[in-house]
């Protein structure tokens, strides 16, 4: 799939983090922006972070103008991804349905659905019968929060998380990018406000520009540059059942019950809920949330009760203060940051890589990613989809 090179003493571009975003950044830097002398430094194995732990939902059903055009751009990239890198990432547009239970929620979803359409995405508002026609086995008649309808995006769906990481990795490798595994960045050499290179577990590596894309480790890595971030690290758990013959076609989210689910191509029900809610770097969560998520699932679709949970795992989320990401330069020249993806950065992988590559290559932000500035918090331009304010565990 790829070479296993030793690090060179210096590169023009060093990307820290061999997750989805780091690999995609390297891919586009090399293939689209025609840059060379690029390395991706990964402390463990490629794709060992959230890219290989997420529940693989891709969608562009955002509300705010700072977000929606970016995620729609990402969706368009997903739609051509496999041909782009000639690798099957199993992009599967089976639709996402966000259920609604109150009139106020319907109003909010209508606003959101309209925002999506105005940005060129697709959206449909379903009433109760519309939902019933799609998923007749949901709990319509005996529920604490009766289903009143839903917001459907048909172009949304899932992709195979490992496949995405590997596709980008292989494509980057073939374009000459050095993918260096087991290479942990342990320090940054900064002189006169400018980054010169990074200390790593495999020695010092000089760099013209450094792009940081380390998701849940953002706080740790940026601390090496003396920066504090508007980010907290939290654990999000995910769940998969034993393999079952197909029962759920698309993705369903049940906000009122903190539960979402889809079924993988291998037959497992892949589901999750809220983050555990406390700062954590442990990549594992606790029982309370396990129960909470299962309760949500059982309340919404009691037919899954006889299935069994096979595995639980956790990933470290870079929860930002407004729930939206950052793709920006920093006050240190040559040091760039891509972070704050919360539980939703998988779907952003193509656009995030593209936008970060654009920024690194041209020193100007990609138009649809302009809002993701680091100083938006100080300046009062948060992009707060949920309206929860600077409380990361509520986003």
């Amino acid at each position: 799939m790829w070479r296993n090179p030793d690090p060179q003493p210096s590169y023009d571009y060093v990307i820290i983090g061999g997750g989805g975003h780091g690999l995609a950044t390297a891919y586009y830097l090399a293939n689209t922006f025609k840059k060379s002398r690029i390395a991706v430094l990964e402390k463990s194995w490629l794709g060992s972070g959230n890219i290989g732990r997420n529940t693989t939902i891709i969608r562009s059903n955002y509300l705010l103008p700072g977000n929606e055009p970016f995620y729609e751009f990402s969706m368009k990239l997903w739609e051509g991804l496999e041909q782009e890198f000639n690798f099957n990432a199993m992009v599967s547009q089976r639709g996402i349905l966000n259920l609604l239970h109150t009139d106020a929620q319907r109003d909010a979803y209508r606003r959101r659905g309209n925002a999506m359409i105005l940005a060129g995405a697709d959206a449909e508002l379903l009433d109760r019968d519309g939902v019933r026609a799609m998923y007749p086995w949901l709990n319509f008649d005996n529920a604490r929060f009766p289903i009143k309808g839903g917001l459907l995006q048909r172009r949304a769906g899932t992709a195979r998380h490992d496949g995405v990481a590997w596709g980008y990795a292989r494509g980057a490798d073939r374009a000459g990018v050095d993918l260096i595994q087991n290479c942990e960045v342990t320090g940054m050499r900064i002189e006169n406000g400018r980054i010169c290179g990074v200390e790593t577990s495999r020695g010092y590596i000089a760099a013209g520009k450094v792009g940081v894309a380390v998701a849940g480790s953002s706080g740790r890595v940026m601390a090496m540059a003396g920066m504090r971030l508007p980010i907290e690290s939290h654990v999000l758990q995910a769940f998969v059942s034993e393999g079952l013959k197909p029962v759920i076609d698309g993705v369903i989210t049940f906000g009122a019950g903190h539960f979402y689910v889809s079924q993988s191509d291998k037959g497992g029900l892949v589901f999750g809920g809220d983050i555990d809610g406390y700062n954590s770097y442990a990549q594992r969560g606790n029982l309370g949330v396990v129960e909470d998520v299962a309760q949500g699932g059982m309340a919404l679709m009691p037919m899954i009760g006889r299935a069994r949970l096979l595995r639980i795992w956790g990933g470290i989320m870079d929860m930002s203060m407004d729930g939206s990401p950052i793709i920006d330069r920093t006050r240190i020249e040559g040091l760039f940051l891509n972070a704050g993806w919360c539980y939703g950065g998988f779907k952003a992988t193509p656009a995030s890589g593209y936008a970060f590559a654009h920024l690194l290559a041209t020193d100007t932000p990609l138009e649809s990613a302009r809002a993701y500035r680091l100083d938006r918090f100080a300046r009062g331009y948060p992009i707060d989809e949920k309206g929860m304010g600077a409380t990361p565990n509520l986003h």
């Binding site: 690798f87 590997w166 129960e291 899954i304 299935a307």
Partner: protein
């Protein structure tokens, strides 16, 4: 095949059951697997990918092959391991993952395509042409996915959840666990012993003579003692499946899975066990040795063969061979031979091995092939370059034992390879408070397991300050394995490593060629260890093969770690049984009974159920009802239960100062006996919540919050009090549930209230708009009265202790009959507040500013209050959208919340978006639909006609921008 002699089955109780529609009988004490074997059934399933015929491989919960659909109808349960399904009369099971019959599965063609279906094949194929993946390939792959199936019907059984606490939790009731529990329980400490099996004893039950006395006898003695110890709780059929933080373990007790139906009992219970210390005595799982075509029904772990013979008195075949790389394989041969099973040969990979019984031993040999499409018929044995075929119906493989470390790695501790033990072992402290004993700690012999269990318990209790003596333990077998490392038999044909997911040695080689060498890449590329057994019988073997290929040691190669749950857990029991309407608690308002008696329709408002409207006979549409409720209120008087609004009592010498800091606007200056509207910001400067603040006495305020934020605001105020300003003299208490509060609104409100107050002067002069007071009503009932209005009418809110709410409601309606007193629900409440232009949840959605609400100037610059500083950030000051009223140019047009607002004629896209409609309703007062919305520069655009776009529903409507106060803009009514 008939039964062997002995065993722990109850031959006096016959149980009949069906498999794939065919009837069989077994005995009490059987599992489905042992009963099927006893009936000569070796073929029990099909593999995931290639649909290879498969038989039972193990005798425990690690089973990868014999998965069945158990029960039928809504109780159908996919992927149940036949090896742990306790037999009951009437059990009904079916094989899975086949089209056609189990012996003739049409999907078996996949096996012919296997050269194309190797590891990673998905990724490199199927993407061309572009449309084909989603239209053709993926649907086909999805149809083939999974093993068993669900029925789409709700689970009919009951479930429960409970909490347990103990000093010591012993996980596993084999030799080590029994010794540990005995040691601990004798001290009087609180002990829980849990075992997934329905019988205590673990491997002791599977051996012929591990102890000086017959094992069942010893176990029975211990169980008798256990029964006499009230401080010990023995939990059979209970799987401890997860180790969480701080000594919390998740466990599932299968209360009635061994019955045809649970009857009145629950099916399973989820236990959350909080243990000060725990001992993992979960035993070990045998390894197999991959060789060509090693997946035929009849080929199984040697220890399982032995267990079937000793515990269940059954052998899968009359003639059996053993393939081993250690001494344990010989023990299986001896036990089987003792039960009259013919041993075709023991093939031992080691040289210099002496025969241990009167059967053929082939030393320095390996099994290199097998025959038999639906069940093993013969094996090929190769010794020093020459091969021969041996007839046998079953083959036991003994490749050594892997300690069951799963729970110990639930905190992500990575086991290390131990050369001496030839096994991965967990390190001390992987899970704080958890120690490991017995075979799980690599202490494989019975004697060492017993001793290590007792010692582990003693040490664990010592750490808790409890002294335990070591019990007398029986003499026990103490042989060592003499393990020889043989990880697979080289060869060209496919040799399975992970049976269920069809991962072969060749797949591992392919992963190696692709440079997918880190164990996690190996696992993901090949799907190894991702089946329902989480690789219990395959992971270690696979990474040893990888180590061989890369030339690294096993330790350098590393290992994947196991995640919870230990074995799969039903989603029903994890949900704990609180489903349907019981999913979340339901809070009822004080007037709920009364409203019910009036035929009210209720609506979920967060945790609450509130009356939405009160239909009357003859009303056929909810709008009729709501219009009537609105008009009756505006003409006469309406009454609404508003108890759900959060109420917080604020008392103390610094209460005013405190509220000044919490609210954006000033509260200290509020006069006693008066109420003020209050706006709270979040610390990031956005509008958070609004409500009223009433000063009942010098040092006593009562503030209200919105229903949705009642809990959050109280928490926040406590944060301010305890964390920010503990020096202030102020106390808080939430009184939301203590007071029933009714809104009495409309021109007749005063007249009505005069009929219930105890001589209180309600005149405008003494009790003006925004006044408040303590008083009594109805002849001495303590009450609070606030003259505040959400509807724009002359209105009051009256609060009485919650238990009187229902009666007060009834009393007011009765006393106001001639005044047109009408109950109204949340729907009419919503209409009236929109007509009056009051913000509610849709406007206060956490994304809006005081400025947008038209309250920018309320944020005092003279004092510091929460959110004030941040509300002055550039971006927030630059915000131009403000709340306006919206009315359709054509009064028959709808106004739809969630529509986006555009200058008339503008291109409708994100760039030109000027705001949105937050709330809308039909206004009986205006006579058309109306709405509120945030519009860019709205205040300067009164009278302008704009477009409301709702492309989602293909609507576009012309609206006129108007004041948000559709009713009584001057506020004359309020002050009447």
């Amino acid at each position: 095949m008939t039964r062997l002699s002995g065993g722990l089955i109850d031959r006096s109780r016959s149980l009949s059951f069906t498999f794939d529609g065919k009837s069989y009988t077994g005995h009490a004490g059987d599992t489905l697997a042992s009963a099927l074997l006893a009936n000569g059934v070796r073929l029990m399933g099909r593999s995931f990918k290639y649909h290879r015929p498969r038989g039972v491989f193990s005798a425990g919960s690690e089973e990868p092959n014999a998965l069945v659909e158990l029960r039928s109808g809504a109780r159908q349960e996919p992927n149940t391991r036949a090896t742990v399904a306790e037999l009951f009369d009437g059990l009904d099971a079916r094989s899975q993952n086949r089209i056609g019959s189990l012996s003739f599965d049409l999907m078996a063609v996949n096996d012919l395509f296997s050269p194309f279906l190797t590891a990673g094949f998905y990724y490199k194929t199927f993407m061309w042409p572009r449309a084909f993946w989603e239209k053709l390939y993926e649907p086909a792959i999805r149809r083939a996915a999974g093993l068993g199936s669900l029925t789409h019907r709700p689970d009919p059984d009951g479930y429960d959840a409970g909490y347990l606490h103990c000093d010591l939790l012993v996980i596993g009731g084999g030799a080590a666990g029994l010794a540990a529990a005995l040691t601990a329980a004798r001290t009087g400490a609180r002990v829980i012993l849990a075992d997934e099996d329905f019988r205590l004893g673990g491997r002791l039950l599977a051996e012929s003579n591990p102890l000086e006395m017959p094992a069942p006898e010893w176990i029975a003695g211990i169980e008798a003692e256990f029964a006499s110890l009230p401080n010990l709780r023995v939990m059979r059929r209970t799987t401890v499946w997860g180790a969480f933080d701080h000594g919390i373990y998740g466990a599932v007790e299968r209360v009635s899975d061994h019955l045809a139906e649970p009857g009145k009992r629950v099916r399973q219970t989820l236990w959350r066990i909080t243990a000060r210390r725990a001992i993992l005595a979960s035993g070990a799982t045998e390894r197999h040795i991959p060789f060509a075509n090693n997946d035929r029904p009849g080929i199984m772990l040697a220890g399982a063969l032995r267990a079937y013979a000793n515990r269940w008195a059954v052998s899968p075949a009359q003639r059996v061979a053993i393939f081993t790389s250690n001494d344990d394989g010989h023990r299986t041969a001896l036990d089987l031979a003792a039960k009259g099973v013919e041993i075709a040969a023991v093939i031992d990979a080691r040289t210099d091995i002496l025969s241990q019984g009167s059967y053929r031993t082939i030393a320095g040999a390996q099994v290199t092939g097998s025959r038999g499409r639906l069940g093993l018929r013969r094996i090929q044995v190769t010794q020093g370059g020459t091969s021969e075929w041996l007839d046998c119906g079953a083959l036991g493989i003994a490749g050594g034992w892997n300690p069951n470390l799963h729970l110990a790695s639930h905190h992500r501790g990575r086991p290390q390879w131990n050369e001496a033990a030839q096994a991965f072992l967990a390190q001390e402290g992987f899970v704080p408070g958890l120690t490991i004993a017995g075979a799980a700690a690599g202490q494989g012999s019975t004697a060492r397991a017993l001793a290590s269990g007792a010692e582990a318990a003693r040490a664990a209790l010592e750490a808790l300050g409890i002294t335990a003596g070591l019990p007398d333990l029986p003499q026990a077998e103490d042989a060592s394995l003499n393990q020889y490392p043989l990880w697979h038999v080289p060869g060209q044909d496919r040799a399975w490593v992970d049976f269920q997911n069809d991962v072969t040695v060749k797949d591992i080689k392919l992963a190696h060629q692709e440079n997918m060498r880190p164990v996690e890449h190996l696992k993901r590329w090949t799907t190894l260890g991702m089946a329902t057994d989480q690789g219990k019988t395959s992971n270690v073997t696979a990474l040893a093969v990888m180590a061989e290929l890369t030339g690294q040691s096993i330790n350098q190669t590393g290992t994947t770690i196991f995640r919870p749950p230990y074995t799969p857990v039903s989603l029903s029991v994890l949900g704990g049984g609180d489903t349907g309407p019981h999913f979340r608690p339901r809070r009822l308002t004080p007037t709920h009974d009364w409203a019910t008696s009036q035929g009210a329709i209720f609506v979920e408002v967060g945790q609450w159920m509130r009356a939405q409207y009160f239909p009357r006979v003859g009303e056929t549409h909810w709008r009729q009802t709501v219009d009537r409720e609105v008009l009756s209120t505006r003409k006469g008087v309406g009454i609404c239960d508003v108890t759900t609004l959060g109420k917080i009592d604020v008392q103390g010498g610094d209460a005013g100062e405190f509220l000044d800091r919490v609210y954006a606007n000033a509260m200290k200056s509020l006069k006693v006996g008066m109420v003020r509207y209050g706006l709270m910001l979040r610390e990031d400067g956005f509008a958070w919540d609004d409500g009223t603040c009433a000063r009942l006495a010098e040092t006593h305020y009562v503030v209200t919050t919105t229903t949705a934020n009642a809990g959050t605001i109280y928490r926040h105020m406590e944060f301010c009090r305890q964390c920010l300003w503990p020096e202030l003299d102020v106390q808080l208490i939430s009184t939301t549930d203590a007071w029933a509060q009714l809104s009495v609104a409309g021109p007749n409100a005063r007249k009505l209230l005069e009929r219930v107050v105890d001589g209180f002067d309600l005149s405008n002069e003494t009790f003006p708009f925004m006044a408040c007071a303590n008083l009594t009503i109805c002849g001495g009932l303590r009450a609070r009265l606030f003259r505040i209005s959400f509807s724009g009418e002359l209105a009051y809110e009256i609060a009485v202790p919650a238990r009187y709410g229902n009666a007060l409601m009834a009393r007011l309606i009765e006393k106001g009959a001639d005044l047109g007193a009408t109950p109204y629900g949340t729907e009419a409440l919503g209409v009236m507040r929109i007509e009056k232009g009051h913000a509610a949840g849709n406007e206060l959605n956490g994304q809006t500013t005081a400025q947008m609400l038209g309250m920018g100037r309320m944020v005092s610059t003279k004092k510091d209050s929460i959110g004030a500083v941040m509300s002055r950030r550039d971006g927030m000051v630059a915000e131009r959208r403000v709340l306006v009223g919206l009315q359709p140019v054509d009064p028959t047009d709808p106004v739809v919340a969630g529509s986006h607002l555009f200058t008339k004629g503008a291109v409708q896209d994100t760039a030109n978006d000027q705001g949105w409609i937050t709330s809308a309703c039909f206004s009986p007062h205006v006579g058309s639909a109306i709405g509120l919305g945030y519009l860019e520069n709205g205040a300067e655009r009164m009278g302008e006609v704009i477009t409301a776009a709702n492309p989602l529903q293909k609507q576009s409507v012309m609206l006129r921008v108007v004041s948000a106060h559709f009713v009584d803009p001057e506020g004359v009514r309020l002050r009447a």
